[in-house]
Structure formats: C-alpha cells, structure tokens
C-alpha cells in the first residue's frame, strides 16, 4: 500500500468506528463529555502507535502459534504504561475514565490492527497505520463527545456555552444517545462518500 494511504486510510475511508465498526464499547462509555473523550483518545493513540511499532518490529521472529498471547502482552504493557502516565500527569481525567483505561487492552482496534496490519507490514507503515487509525478514532470520539456534551448538558469542556433557557436532552448523556449519535455520523460519512 502506498505510504500516504496507510496514514489517511484510518482517518476516514476505513475509520475504525464508522467503517470498520470496532472499538465501539469505549466510544459509548467515554463520549459523554469532551474532556474524558480527549483523554481516552490520547491514551488509545499512544497504545495503538506503540504496539503497532513493536509488533511490526518483531513480526519476523514471532511464531504464528503464539502470536496472540504475545500481542496481548505487548499491548497490555503499553496500556499499563499509559495508565501510570495518566495517573501521574492527569489524575482527574484518570479518575474519571476509571476502569476504561485498563479496558483499552481489549479494545478491538488495537488487537485488530496488530493482526490485520502490523504483523504483515514494515515498522514505518505500521507506525503510519497506527497514527491514522488513532487519529480517526480521536476525531470521531471528539465529534460524538461534542454533540453529546452540548446537547446533553449544554456545556463544552465543562464550560456552559448554551443559554440558560436551553433544556438539555438527558438521553444524550445516556447510552442510547451515544448510539444515535454514532448512527448519524455514519450516515453523514456515507453520504459524503456517496455510498448512499
């Protein structure tokens, strides 16, 4: 695959959430406000890029039979690293995300890209793929969280931006709101790419 395509692929064309439809659980769970969403996005981006690089680096010496346990060990090492870093440098986001940081280990995007891409491509291309997929995930997480926070609470990053007459739609703060928002963005993307 051409170099630039590796990178841009994950942002829109094969966006993990809207197209591949993987990694949806954390999207639903942490997209209720923008601050948490950004924290999660950065953590996932870090783990995705780091694991892709390492897994690609050792791809020639990993025997097929034990590749999954090895991928998981590598991914969990980076997730735990991200967890410690967040606990040290952004403790309130870390507390807010709670159990969803360790759950990044089982985020399908990371294992999915390891299996589908990193173990079959060069380190540089895997790095680009990780960046692209991570940024695509971050983008959609940010958009969904913005919609949910503004419509569900009238705030953005905790600051009230809509007038006090605005009555927030509680459904946006709950899971159904997340599903509905994802569906809308999916529809928008399809229309943009004229698939509908």
């Amino acid at each position: 695959m051409k170099t630039l395509a590796c990178f841009t692929n994950g942002i829109l064309k094969e966006n993990a959430v809207l197209r591949l439809m993987i990694g949806l659980c954390p999207v639903l769970a942490v997209s209720s406000n923008v601050k948490d969403a950004l924290g999660m996005a950065v953590a996932v981006l870090f783990v995705l890029v780091a694991s892709n690089i390492v897994i690609s680096f050792i791809r020639k010496i990993v025997p097929d039979q034990i590749r999954i346990p090895i991928f998981i060990i590598i991914i969990s090492t980076f997730v735990t690293t991200a967890d410690y870093l967040m606990k040290a440098y952004v403790p309130e986001i870390h507390k807010s995300l709670g159990i969803f940081v360790p759950l990044i280990v089982v985020n399908c995007i990371i294992l999915g890209r390891a299996e589908a891409f990193a173990c079959k491509n060069s380190v540089f291309h895997s790095l680009l793929d990780g960046l692209g997929m991570g940024l695509g995930f971050a983008l959609i997480l940010f958009l969904i969280a913005s919609v949910r926070e503004i419509l569900g609470g009238g705030t953005f990053l905790g600051i009230n931006i809509l007038s006090f007459n605005f009555k927030p739609a509680l459904i946006m703060k709950l899971a159904p709101g997340a599903f509905i928002t994802i569906a809308f963005f999916m529809a928008i993307l399809n229309k943009m790419e004229k698939k509908v």
Binding site: I58, P69, I73, T81, Y84, K87, A88, P91, I99
Partner: protein, 180 residues
Amino acid sequence: MKFIFKLAFILMTICIWAAGTLAWVESTTRNKIKNNEIQKQEILKQIVLKEANSFKEIEKEIFLGYNKIEQIVGMVVGIDVKGYGGSIKMLVGVGKDRKIKGFEILSHKETPGLGSEIEKGSFKNQFKGKEVSKIILKKDNPNGEIDAISGATISSRAVTNGLKKALNNADRVFKSIGEN
C-alpha cells in the same frame, strides 16, 4: 520437541521485556503519583473539616484543625480499614463535640456497583453529625443508626468500623491535649 522450547523462549523474552518496561515506568512515575495523592489529601482535609483554615500534624495521620484565630476547631483523622476487596483509606473530620463533621473515601478496592456505593452521598451522609455510640450498622445492633448498602454489607461495615476507630482516636488525642 525443540519447537516447544523455541516457543517458550520467545514468550519468556517478551515477558521479561514487559516486566522490565513496567518496572521502569512505575519507578519513573512513582514520585509524581505520590505527590498527587498528598496534594489531594490537602484539599480533602479542607473538605472534611470546613471550619478549619490550617492543619497541624500532631500524630501520624492525625491533624489538628485551626481556624483563622488559631483556635482548635476539630481534627482530621486518616484511617485505613480492611474492606471486602482490599484496604479502604478514609479521611475523617471530627468536631470537638466528638461528632463526625464529614469524611471522604481516599481509595478503595470494593466491587464496582456494590461496595463502591460507599462513595455515594446517600450512604456517606448518614454519618454526619453522629457520635461513636450511634455509628454501628442497624443489622449489627438495634441501637445503631446506619443502614448498610444492599449487597455490600462487608464494605458498609468496614466503613462504619473505620469511622468508629477514627472517632475513638480523635477522642484520645483530644483528651491528651486537654480538650475534654
């Protein structure tokens, strides 16, 4: 046969790498995390004893609270109890009247959704303004005034016992400095 050894060796190498990386990360972030906890504690001391302006550590984990004119308004006691899933760390504000002014859970390892409800206001607020004789679960003693959380008796009891311990400690220290 030799193949198994190759697999085992590769797995072992990766695990050693993982262990080493994690050990390095932990040691690098250890101090920052500890400082964060200390800072958080300072803020929480203020929250559990609102009347106090400044604190002085008089004993390990026991802080006297002073108001603006250097009068003692109460005490903040740090307490550690064994809960269901691990140790529960709390910070308890005690007034001179030996009643609970407020408390916060610093950390716990209780079950999410069950024991973790000890952090909820609906459970915590039961303790406000109570003295040691009332701080016992209703199911453990008819004189008690504390409702346990459904499905989380052990966690509820642990917090209750912790608060009793805090009040007893506070009473002891108050007496030792002449505040009877």
